[in-house]
């Protein structure tokens, strides 16, 4: 790792000037120069120079070095969400590449600082990770490398079971804040005619109702968790029979999962925003005439679309541009929606010039789901030629399914919801009154991958040390998958889990 040479420092000053001019608001930006091995190393660690030892980083590295060596892909740029914000430049890139990367990084940096979903992440995550790394190393010295490493495997297997809203909730409000709403009613049925009171709510009935409510309340008090809990990792840390080092390791994994969460929630927006800014900074300010061809070459590969996948850079940048354009021309609001004359819509331009203001607002308030939900319009979908594809059951090949706007949009949203992960809750920690753990999968149309679910249950059992089950739906039938420490069984259930 090396500080950047003088010419790049000059370049940074220049680009930063443009960022200021355009009104970007960023953390202090630090660039460092890496050769490609170091780049692959740091990229395997997710951008952090020091993380706990684990083989999967080695696997990432293996993969990256190979694709780099064979020229399949190249890590151009790496930026992490910290304050100050660190970004790495690849040694040997041409100066137009470096300029482009810098401009792009300022876009990300502004996004990290201003987007609400990032507001709860720790700006000193580099230190946090380095500290946890040294604790993990200490555990490895004490308990053996493979014991700790295989426990990390177990924890990682559960690291998507977190509650995206937890960082935004007050802890105090979290536990037992909900006072019974219908307490005042005392189990009485609604009665508007006072003289009928004794008939509608006879005393014996009232007593019975009150008894019932009390019993229910008692039961729910004993029930852990009171309501289905999405922060499965957090629940396990406080309730599973873990040794102290195990609880600490699980805590480390959980902390990192929460740290990386906003990046998964805003992939399209974040890349779109950064691409929008590199494009404006480069084409309007930083690029010289001799660099046009090289710039176009790089950008065309960044924005390239392939039929079978969604390119977040492309989708993001096009949406940002579309929003800017619409708000500049005033193509929004009730009047616009009500208009169904296509000619008029084409010509529609109220010259409001609100585009810039709007996109800055969007980058502050939205995440991928709300972003697509609100701004992915019929026109946009047509113009950008979106479609859904599905696997042909007979040939096994992927085929274009439809170009219908509603279907495309709902497919896209369902893939983005909960960043494509299933909704899993802890339902009961004392299932069947035998100390078994019961999880629930809220089925949203797509089944769990069964072989993975089995292996994950095994890992869950390793932590809970009692049989573990998950309620789910397989081929439209409610099922319960259970692992009792020796074998996995799947049994029928009467109702599907809902939360």
């Amino acid at each position: 790792m090396a500080p950047i040479p003088q010419y790049l420092r000059d370049m940074q000053v220049e680009i930063q000037g443009y960022a200021d001019e355009f009104g970007l608001d960023y953390f202090t930006q630090i660039f460092e120069m890496l050769d490609y091995r170091e780049m692959c190393e740091i990229a395997s660690y997710g951008g952090f120079p020091v993380r706990y030892p684990h083989w999967r980083f080695g696997m990432e590295y293996d993969h990256m070095i190979k694709s780099h060596t064979y020229g399949l892909s190249k890590v151009y740029e790496l930026v992490i969400n910290t304050d100050p914000c660190y970004a790495y430049l690849l040694e040997g890139n041409s100066s137009v590449d470096q300029k482009l990367v810098m401009a792009h990084v300022y876009g990300h940096n502004d996004f990290f600082k201003n987007n609400n979903y990032f507001s709860r992440t720790d700006g000193r995550m580099i230190d946090v990770m380095a500290n946890s790394a040294s604790r993990v190393r200490r555990y490895m010295d004490r308990h053996g490398v493979s014991a700790v490493e295989s426990f990390i495997d177990v924890c990682l297997s559960l690291d998507n079971l977190i509650d995206p809203w937890a960082p935004f909730r007050d802890r105090a409000h979290d536990s037992g804040g909900e006072a019974g709403e219908d307490e005042g009613a005392n189990g009485r049925l609604r009665n508007v005619r006072g003289y009928l009171e004794d008939y509608v709510n006879p005393p014996a009935f009232i007593a019975e109702q009150q008894e019932k409510a009390k019993a229910e309340k008692e039961a729910s008090k004993r029930k852990v968790p009171v309501q289905p809990e999405r922060d499965v990792l957090g629940f396990l840390i406080s309730h599973a029979p873990l040794e102290s080092w195990e609880a600490d390791v699980l805590g480390i994994i959980r902390e990192e999962a929460y740290y990386f969460l906003p990046q998964m929630q805003t992939k399209i927006m974040n890349e779109g925003w950064a691409s929008y800014w590199h494009s404006r900074i480069m084409t309007e300010r930083a690029m010289t005439a001799s660099e046009v061809i090289d710039y176009a070459d790089v950008v065309s590969s960044v924005f390239a679309t392939a039929p079978g996948q969604l390119n977040p850079y492309k989708l993001g940048v096009e949406l940002v541009r579309d929003i800017e354009d619409r708000w500049n021309k005033g193509q929004f609001g009730a009047e616009w929606e009500a208009c169904d004359d296509i000619e008029e819509k084409m010509r529609w331009n109220k010259e409001l010039g609100l585009g810039q203001k709007k996109i800055f607002e969007v980058r502050k308030l939205y995440n991928d789901v709300t972003f697509v939900d609100e701004f992915f319009t019929l026109d946009f979908c047509r113009r950008q030629k979106f479609f859904t594809f599905t696997q042909n059951r007979r040939s096994g090949e992927l085929e274009i399914e439809t170009r219908e706007f509603e279907k495309v949009k709902s497919k896209m949203l369902s893939q983005l919801t909960n960043f494509g992960q299933p909704f899993i809750y802890v339902v009961d920690a004392n299932y069947l009154n035998r100390g078994e753990l019961l999880l629930g999968h809220r089925h949203e149309g797509e089944d769990l991958k069964l072989d993975y679910a089995r292996d994950t249950l095994r890992n869950m059992e390793r932590i809970w040390r009692r049989p573990v089950s998950i309620l789910s739906v397989v081929d439209d039938k409610p099922k319960r998958i259970r692992y009792d420490g020796s074998e996995v069984t799947i049994s029928d259930e009467t109702t599907a889990f809902t939360a």
Binding site: G46, Y61, Y76, E149, Q263, N311, F386, I400, Q415
Partner: protein, 370 residues
């Protein structure tokens, strides 16, 4: 200092090795390893080295794409994302089956550990060396034909700059004798192979594709192991039905001939080959013969036995006979030679009934450590 990633990387390699060891029997009996062979490495598909999670995707694949086309048109699988911004936190995009490249040496080591194979003590001969010259450095004298223009030019330029005779307007560089540099070489001894494997295979009508597949897989592993034991190793291939000839490697594994079987013909060719090219005093010779054991006549079998006794067995470090079970063969030959050589350590016989036996058969052949 060993960097952190190197440690993690070697942990990963260890896990991969462990997986290979656990599944060695499966890999060995599956023929596709031989097809996946590169120059010095084999790439092994490893389906399940990722971390299981609760994920969606019970049904078929589906998603949203972008581009031209009508409903019903096929969608090409997108290449893996390229461009900027890789190395975001998300790992495990999609399910890439992992292909792990393992060097043949590593594979041989795993095989050795797993089967408990002893290392081979080479025959007393010092291994033969040839010398090879490599141009690696520069010196100030030498023939003009070896003059290094670049180095000479650089020195001349430096001298002229230092002495102030360099004129930027008229940059003519004139080397004098002290500037001249010549390429110089180092002589490295290059060990020459002193081991040879002679494979013989029966390609008569009774040997079917499955039998040949077994022979191919088994010889691949024998090759891998012996190669790890000797620097440079020669392989020769002989096929026979009623007559025998030496062939190329490809032919050896592909040819399907038909006709009768006279094993002695192969042994004769083998004996000739040894006599002409591989004097036993200097060479470690390994001979392997695969057949379905259905020899033409009793006479021929006795010719074989005498050839083995007089020539082949004394010349070879080891002579291996592998009999592949075939629905057509009588399987008599193995009984005959076992009877003829009841206790000769150099002759190893092994019966292979199917692909699952390959591993045991390899062990049988190589456990002697000769």
């Amino acid at each position: 200092m060993i960097s952190r990633i190197d440690k993690d990387h070697s942990r990963f390699r260890e896990i991969v090795r462990g997986k290979i060891r656990d599944n060695l029997r499966k890999y060995i009996s599956r023929g596709d390893m031989t097809a996946r062979k590169g120059k010095d490495t084999v790439s092994i598909p490893m389906p399940s080295i990722d971390i299981p999670r609760f994920t969606l995707g019970g049904g078929g694949q589906s998603g949203v794409g972008q581009g031209d086309g009508e409903p019903g048109d096929p969608v090409g699988q997108g290449e893996e994302g390229e461009g900027e911004g890789a190395g975001k936190a998300g790992e495990g995009e999609g399910s890439k089956t992992l292909e792990v490249d393992v060097t043949l040496d590593e594979l041989a080591a795993i095989l050795g550990e797993e089967l408990g194979l002893p290392r081979i003590e080479p025959k007393g001969t010092e291994s033969l060396h040839t010398n090879k010259d490599r141009y690696v450095s520069l010196r100030s004298t030498g023939p003009e034909s070896l003059r290094s223009f670049k180095a000479t030019f650089k020195r001349a330029l430096k001298r002229q700059l230092a002495s102030g005779t360099y004129m930027p307007n008229k940059p003519i560089i004139t080397p004098v004798r002290e500037d001249k540099r010549y390429r110089s070489w180092r002589t490295d001894p290059k060990p020459q192979s002193n081991a040879v494997i002679i494979y013989m295979m029966d390609v008569s009508g009774s040997m079917g594709d499955e039998q040949k597949e077994i022979v191919r897989i088994e010889s691949f592993w024998i090759d891998t192991w012996l190669r790890s034991q000797y620097q440079g190793l020669e392989s020769r291939y002989i096929i026979h039905d009623a007559t025998a000839r030496e062939v190329e490697r490809d032919t050896f594994f592909r040819t399907r001939e038909s006709g009768g079987t006279m094993i002695s013909s192969a042994y004769k060719v083998c004996a000739d080959l040894i006599e002409k090219e591989f004097p036993p005093s200097n060479w470690n010779i390994y001979a392997f013969h695969f057949s379905d054991g259905d020899n033409w006549s009793v006479d021929d079998t006795s010719t074989c036995v005498s050839l083995l006794k007089d020539t082949l067995i004394p010349a070879c470090n080891q002579f291996g006979y592998g009999q592949v079970e075939s629905p057509y063969g009588s399987g008599q030959f193995i009984k005959d030679i076992r009877a003829a050589f009841p206790s000769n350590e150099k002759l190893v016989t092994s019966e292979i009934t199917g692909k699952d036996d390959i591993m045991d058969s390899i062990k049988e052949f190589l456990k002697g450590g000769r």
